[in-house]
Amino acid sequence: MIFKFRSISKVLILRSGENLYVRCGNAVVRRFSFVLNGKPVEVEVPPAYTLLETLRNVLHLTGTKDGCSDGDCGACTVLLDGRAVHSCLTLMAQVEGRSVTTVEGLLRDSSPDEVQSAYAESGAVQCGYCTPGLIMATKALLMSNPRPSVEEIKEALRGNLCRCTGYAKILEAVLRVRR
């Protein structure tokens, strides 16, 4: 493994095993393989791309939202090997060979996950732009802690900003699916 480069524009073509860097127009792209919502996928994107940029701008899988691109708002939360991460802070190199679940991946035979239904039925969805991120954060919480206390719920969701609801109905939604 001998990839040393200062800037993308200086790299022409480098080869190492399966991974191929190619110049694509005036950008350099690299191939990444990972499992997305249960299915293996391969993408060719600039190596500095984040998972969020890949999901939205390349795959056009837009359920995952871009609220700040800075890791501050949580709208882009997805599961990486079952743990909640900010996809805007996750580089594609960190995703290589791993498993990603987005809000679309929670559907089973096109029926919604119980967390998705709980958010919709509790009135926890207004403009809805924060909703997919909150649902993924809730999912991750419940997978690791099926019976969280109110304090534990607030702690788990404190990184997911919502500007519409005032959070009361979000809390209600999570309490509804708590075991």
Binding site: N26, G128, Y167
Partner: protein, 760 residues
């Protein structure tokens, strides 16, 4: 016709909720048309500078760049809703950091970003106008040729000076209120393309498709029927998408390149270039008699509208209208000034000028109650407006006025009655608790401005209804509420109502989605349309059955004769209409009643007002100055609640925005530079900052509203900051006069009080 309510009043989940929860709802930022160009905007580096030269030649020749546009590409380079003072792309000057100078369109986002850095702009920096008080002086540098006073007016009724001489108590304070940023989770975003009929189509987050279209067409000098504006689900707006953001730039790219385009602001771009709530200075002198009757209020309002007016002139009107609170005050004198500075752009934000002045008057009321040793709610009730009263502008209040009832509920609430016990329940001696109250008032509708809207209703072949409105779904739930209203008016199931919304090609003009009145306006226009539709259907039923039309009534999707023997389904009626070429659609219209504006104003008074009372339990750490809201009780005058779930959500969400406004959200602008450009520095409430919120609606009914409903979208934020400030006064004995009440400000305020004590 007595309208049974089968759907109105039910807490049914919003139909768009699940679609959003599974990630299928498409927002403007989710759209990627085939073959799109990526748009990026070059923004000013200086708060105030002359533009000497713009050179885009090297940016244009950068690989991947298709076009670069400047002011030379814009035929009519000024727009604005009241005053056309804002350039689409700056020409002579830049007036705030973020003012747009050029638009790049490129094959990749990377190429567009790189090209921005290759545009050469030669500036001649000018002294920046930063302080609104300095800006008002004649010797100040000018932001615009016409001077820095964008609007100034004085309104007085009665004789305040005489009343001050007769008063038993006079309270005088200067309040300062900070800039608030909307901080919706979806930034300003859109796409543009030519549709199959060669129509220029803009799909972008906004609040008013027809008004956006007008701004696009007037600046680019193209006919309105050649442009279509669509507003899909919007990821939050709160007034911040009332003004133009990406729309004209997108239209320009597609018009000139004939290619689809996508333009999405970054978070930093949104906080910088998006509009904001007006910062301001409010001086208030209020007088009362010993028995608590208010005698006079003299107010000076100075609002900083920043580089451009936006909706500032109307915001100033709303400040004037509401600065006396929901009270009868016989003598008032208001001087109000809207000032240009180089501090970004202020325009509409939920509450629209009212939260600032209500913070002032509600703090004044509390101070008077304290001086008179009177219960603060009792003082408010003594002066509260009631239906039929004559308001401070000699305006008769013909609409419902629920403030007294809201205050009575507050007075009887456990949090108020047992506030002594609540206050004593603190864990540490340095943690102090207090309970505060505040009232709120704001007009809904556009006041004295003409305001008319249309709604289309169409009977489909299946016997269901398609309702067409240009109302925008910005998160508030108007579509769900309209579906419920439509189902009851058209006597069918709520699932039989399909809504087509916010599309200048597909929906009639239902006027702008602002001023808390879309349900009121569209609901009333819908009532007119439903009447026309049912009348049409009644005649068809008569034709089908041979019975006279007047025997038919409607229930659950059937026309039913009075004796119950004839039942004709809506689907049968639809088929008959189709076979006999009877057009299956109608258009309903509603013009909002209004009065003439009082001299010196644009749009006040309103005929219709919303009201609310709020109680806040606040905890203050006297060692750090950190204040936290523990409990809120919000009591809005709702007229009639159409959907309790949506209603509570609106009030809870507004209340938490109010907590942010009161305590946390500090948009720091230093030397014209916004220092808080993201969510790490501009802190909006998280789930940890949101307290328990109890919402208690007053439902006295507003006869002019659909099923008795009135506007509620903005009222929830207005009483929060003063209730929190009054609770802080109750907790620690010092009165905050500047919001946001940050720990730093409160720490020094508490220290200054102890300092005074120590000096004895």
């Amino acid at each position: 016709m007595a309208q049974a309510q089968r759907w109105v009043g039910k807490p049914i989940p919003r139909r768009d909720a699940l679609e959003k929860a599974i990630g299928q709802a498409k927002y403007a930022s989710d759209l990627f048309p085939e073959g799109l160009l990526w748009g990026k905007v070059l923004r000013s580096k200086y708060p105030h500078a002359k533009i000497r030269r713009i050179d885009v030649s090297s940016a244009k020749s950068h690989p991947g760049v298709v076009a670069v546009f400047t002011h030379e590409d814009v035929p009519n380079n000024r727009y604005g809703l009241f005053n056309k003072d804002r350039p689409v792309l700056c020409d002579d000057k830049v007036r705030y950091i973020g003012d747009p100078i050029a638009v790049v369109a490129a094959e990749t986002p990377e190429a567009a970003e790189e090209a921005l850095g290759m545009i050469e702009v030669e500036y001649e920096p000018l002294p920046a106008v930063l302080d609104p008080l300095e800006a008002m002086k004649p010797e100040s540098p000018k932001v615009h040729e016409r001077g820095n006073i964008a609007r100034q007016t004085r309104i007085s009724f009665g004789d305040v000076e005489q009343a001050f001489r007769e008063a038993d108590v006079i309270v005088e304070n200067t309040y300062t209120v900070g800039t608030q940023i909307h901080a919706y989770l979806e930034t300003e975003a859109g796409i543009s393309y030519f549709d199959e009929n060669g129509r220029l189509t803009i799909v972008a987050g906004g609040q008013s498709p027809y008004r956006d279209r007008h701004e696009i067409c007037s600046t680019l000098n193209i006919p309105e029927d050649s442009v279509r504006v669509v507003i899909p689900h919007v990821g939050g707006a709160f007034g911040g998408k009332d003004d133009i953001s990406v729309q004209i730039h997108l239209a320009l790219i597609t018009l000139k390149t004939r290619r689809p385009a996508r333009l999405v602001w970054t978070r930093e771009e949104s906080t910088i270039a998006g509009t904001k709530r007006h910062a301001g200075i409010i001086r208030m002198k209020t007088a009362a008699r010993r028995d608590g009757v208010l005698l006079a209020n003299k107010t000076e309002i100075i609002y900083d509208t920043g580089a451009y007016e936006g909706l500032g002139p109307a915001v100033l009107d709303v400040a004037i209208e509401n600065c006396n609170g929901p009270y009868k005050i016989p003598n008032i004198d208001i001087s109000a000034t809207l000032v240009y500075t180089n501090n970004y752009v202020a325009s509409a934000f939920r509450g629209f000028g009212a939260p600032q002045v209500l913070f002032a008057i509600e703090s004044q009321l509390d101070a008077i109650a304290e001086r008179l040793n009177m219960d603060p709610i009792e003082l408010r009730l003594r002066n509260a407006l009631r239906r039929g009263d004559v308001g401070v502008f000699n305006n008769k209040l013909i609409g419902s006025v629920g403030i007294a009832k809201a205050l009575e509920i507050a007075a009887n609430h456990e949090l108020w009655r047992e506030r002594g016990r609540y206050k004593s329940e603190t864990a540490r001696p340095w943690i102090k608790r207090g309970v505060g109250v505040a009232s709120a008032i704001k007009g809904y509708t556009l006041g004295a401005l003409p305001d008319k809207g249309q709604v289309g209703v169409e009977l489909t072949r299946e016997g269901k209804f398609r309702v067409r409105v240009s109302s925008t779904e910005i998160g508030q739930g108007v579509l769900a509420a309209l579906a419920q209203v439509a189902a009851d008016m058209l006597r069918c199931g709520v699932d039989d109502i399909q809504l087509v919304f916010a599309d200048t090609l597909e929906t009639p003009d239902t006027s702008v989605t602002s001023a808390s009145r879309q349900l009121f306006l569209a609901g009333n226009a819908l009532a007119d349309a439903a009447r026309k539709m049912l009348d049409k259907m009644r005649h068809v039923a008569a034709g089908l059955s041979g019975e006279p039309p007047e025997v038919f009534d409607f229930l659950d999707g059937y026309a039913i004769s009075r004796d119950g023997k004839t039942r004709i389904s809506y689907a049968e009626i639809a088929r008959y209409m189709e076979n006999n070429n009877i057009p299956p659609h109608v258009v309903g219209e509603y013009e909002v009643p209004r009065v003439e504006p009082i001299p010196g104003t644009l749009e006040i008074p309103h005929l219709f007002y919303m009201f609310a009372a709020a109680l806040a339990l606040v905890e203050v750490n006297t060692l750090t100055g950190f204040a936290q809201v523990r409990k809120l009780v919000v009591i809005p005058d709702a007229g009639k609640v159409i959907n309790p779930q949506t209603f509570q959500g609106q009030i809870e969400g507004a209340a938490v925005q109010g907590i942010g406004y009161a305590l946390m959200e500090e948009a720091k602008i230093e030397n014209g530079i916004l220092k808080t450009q993201n969510f790490a520095t501009y802190l909006i409430p998280s789930i940890k900052d949101a307290p328990e919120i109890e919402v208690i609606p007053v439902e006295d009914g507003e006869e002019t509203g659909p099923f008795g409903a009135k506007g509620i979208g903005e009222i929830g934020i207005i009483p929060i900051a003063p209730a929190v400030a009054n609770a802080i006064k109750d907790a620690v004995g010092v009165r905050p006069t500047s919001i946001p009440i940050t720990p730093e400000k409160l720490y020094w305020l508490i220290r200054s009080k102890h300092g005074e004590k120590g000096s004895h």
